[in-house]
């Protein structure tokens, strides 16, 4: 059995990266000769979610209710996942490489006394089970053996494309209310406020992102970039250089220690493309770099580039957009 943790969005349907993880799990299942695919969901499983999981080939949906499901708590959720794992006799426990997915897999692995591989991109073989995962923010890869069972890992975002199964699974819902030890409920969320970072939320989901780096020159160097962002209905993202210098707030940061974005179009302006930044933007479908240095990594890795100072190029683009719009 392969057990995949599926995370829900605010509407109660599966988050995209969990569907990617299920797609990964299916490839693993096929390699293992059709090992059944199970999903574990903490909290309610709506009809819509059940249909989604069925489309992705899930045989059994383990719905965790009771004490574990009332508020987020890493240790309690992991305890519940492991109790499902025991009943389903799973040899693999996996999740999407989200903040929560990585956290929960770490709890599961620590409790089970096994290794855990974060941000896996692919697997090489089943015996031994060797996975390739992202390290150094994706700038290097690590081949790692997962010899213990359960094999515990998370799948890096966008490592695979989410694809429904050729034949749907039964997606029978089995309810669980595992008993949670008091000690596992100590570090539990006591309250959840409004997201104070609307900007980082919209940055992560934006279809177009305008980026700004050292080339902005200072805290006053963002006017034209903000205008371009507005003209494109885009979100503004910046490099760590910019937030570390205090030019812009941290929630606008794209990179290894900021937001990871995957827009249709990313327009990095005056960003050289250090590893730290590339780790956050490499999933963009199209990149148009604007930079004075034709040798900058961001330029050589981009789909398109304009060589020039952003303070000259960006105002000209803004003017051209306004002219065409009349």
């Amino acid at each position: 059995m392969i057990l995949t943790l599926v995370e829900k969005d605010l509407e109660g349907t599966a988050v995209e990266v969990s569907l990617e993880a299920l797609t990964f799990a299916r490839a693993l299942s096929a390699e293992g000769g059709g090992v059944p695919l199970d999903a574990v969901v903490v909290g309610e499983v709506s009809d819509e979610l059940r249909k989604e999981l069925s489309a992705y080939g899930v045989r059994t949906v383990h719905q965790v209710g009771g004490e574990a499901a009332s508020a987020y708590c890493g240790a309690a959720w992991a305890s519940a996942i492991l109790s499902v794992r025991e009943q389903s006799k799973s040899v693999v426990v996996m999740a999407a490489g989200t903040d929560r997915g990585n956290e929960l897999m770490a709890h599961v692995a620590a409790r089970a006394g096994v290794a855990m591989a974060a941000n896996v991109l692919s697997f090489q073989g089943l015996s031994p089970f060797v996975v390739t995962r992202q390290v150094v923010g994706g700038a290097a890869l690590e081949e790692m053996r997962l010899d213990q069972r359960p094999a515990v890992f998370s799948v890096a975002g966008h490592a695979v494309e989410a694809k429904p199964a050729e034949s749907p699974g039964a997606a029978d819902v089995v309810e669980h209310s595992p008993e949670i030890a008091a000690g596992d409920l100590v570090a539990r969320v006591v309250s959840t406020g409004e997201p104070d970072t609307d900007e980082s939320g919209s940055l992560k989901s934006a279809k177009v992102v305008v980026g700004a780096g050292r080339g902005a020159g200072g805290p006053d160097g963002f006017k034209d970039l903000e205008e371009l962002t507005a003209l494109l209905g885009a979100a503004l993202g910046v490099s760590r250089v910019v937030t570390a210098a205090g030019w812009r707030p941290h929630h606008e940061q794209v990179g290894q220690t900021g937001s990871r974005i995957s827009p249709d179009l990313y327009v990095p302006c005056g960003i050289s493309g250090a590893i730290q930044h590339w780790a956050g933007c490499s999933s963009a479908k199209t990149i148009l770099a604007i930079n004075t240095d034709p040798e900058a990594p961001m330029v050589t890795r981009a789909t398109y580039a304009v060589i020039g100072d952003l303070h000259e190029v960006v105002p000209a683009i803004n003017d051209e957009i306004r002219r065409r719009r009349g």
Partner: protein, 257 residues
């Protein structure tokens, strides 16, 4: 009074190209230089702030080679008052090994009369990206753990931590002793002052040997992704490129709103 221990790791600077060591077991930082992971810079700042607010002290620990003393000194330079080096070759230690060694330091200090009420770590190391040492440490010490906090404070023996969760900012309130892993973004790490640096040089670093043989990281090897061939299409130079850029925007359909 709450004493805080912050755990840091010497990692290659991530602002330049990645080079691997000859045995493909680690990233070679000889050319890029070394730093501590960015999340940990914030963890150090929070350790100094939180301990000072309660009249306690901040200590720093690392598992690494002799050179890692540099990262301990940079924490000392911004307000930590004691430092411990567990001297070992870090690439031969897996996350479970590191957690066990950090736990051994916490227990040894406790036996010697210094309790670390709160242990802070970075959410993940900038090089190995294991995302688990803090959580494993918490299980080793049988303490509760909050993961990925941007802010922490202590009052009445309770640590309050805030985490940016998927549905908004989540607040945790956990009785001490506890473990919290930190994400960049909640505090601005201070720059070391000249007197701070001078003071840091004089602090004697406690050296410890590992408590057990490492089981290892289960790493087969590191590789570098093949360099993507550059297929960049240059649209033009300077302001004259604007019409070509806007043509591209139209082609991609990003102006049709």
């Amino acid at each position: 009074m709450a004493n805080v221990l912050v755990c840091v790791k010497r990692v290659p600077d991530s602002s330049s190209e990645v080079v691997l060591t000859d045995d493909a077991q680690a990233v070679d930082g000889r050319f890029a230089g070394f730093t501590m992971s960015p999340h940990e810079e914030c963890a150090v700042e929070l350790a100094v702030q939180v301990s000072a607010a309660t009249g306690g002290e901040a200590a720093v620990v690392t598992l690494g080679d002799a050179e890692a003393v540099e990262q301990l000194r940079s924490a000392l330079a911004v307000g930590a008052t004691a430092a411990t080096l567990v001297e070992a070759e870090p690439s031969t230690y897996g996350p479970a090994d590191v957690a066990r060694e950090l736990a051994a330091v916490v227990r040894a200090h406790e036996a010697e009369g210094t309790a670390h009420d709160l242990v802070l770590l970075g959410n993940d190391a900038a090089d190995s990206g294991d995302f688990q040492v803090g959580i494993r440490l918490a299980y080793e010490l049988r303490r509760p753990v909050v993961n990925g906090a941007k802010m922490v404070s202590i009052a009445d023996g309770v640590v309050t931590a805030s985490v940016e969760g998927p549905e908004g900012v989540e607040t945790y309130q956990v009785p001490l002793p506890a473990v919290v892993t930190i994400r960049e973004g909640g505090v601005e790490p201070r720059y070391p002052s000249v007197p701070g640096r001078m003071k840091a040089k004089k602090v004697a670093i406690e050296e410890r040997t590992p408590s057990a043989e490492p089981t290892g990281p289960a790493r087969v090897k590191l590789t570098l992704p093949p360099p993507a061939p550059s297929n960049v299409q240059i649209l033009g130079t300077g302001a004259a490129a604007a019409p070509a850029v806007v043509d591209l925007f139209e082609e991609l359909g990003v102006l049709s709103r």
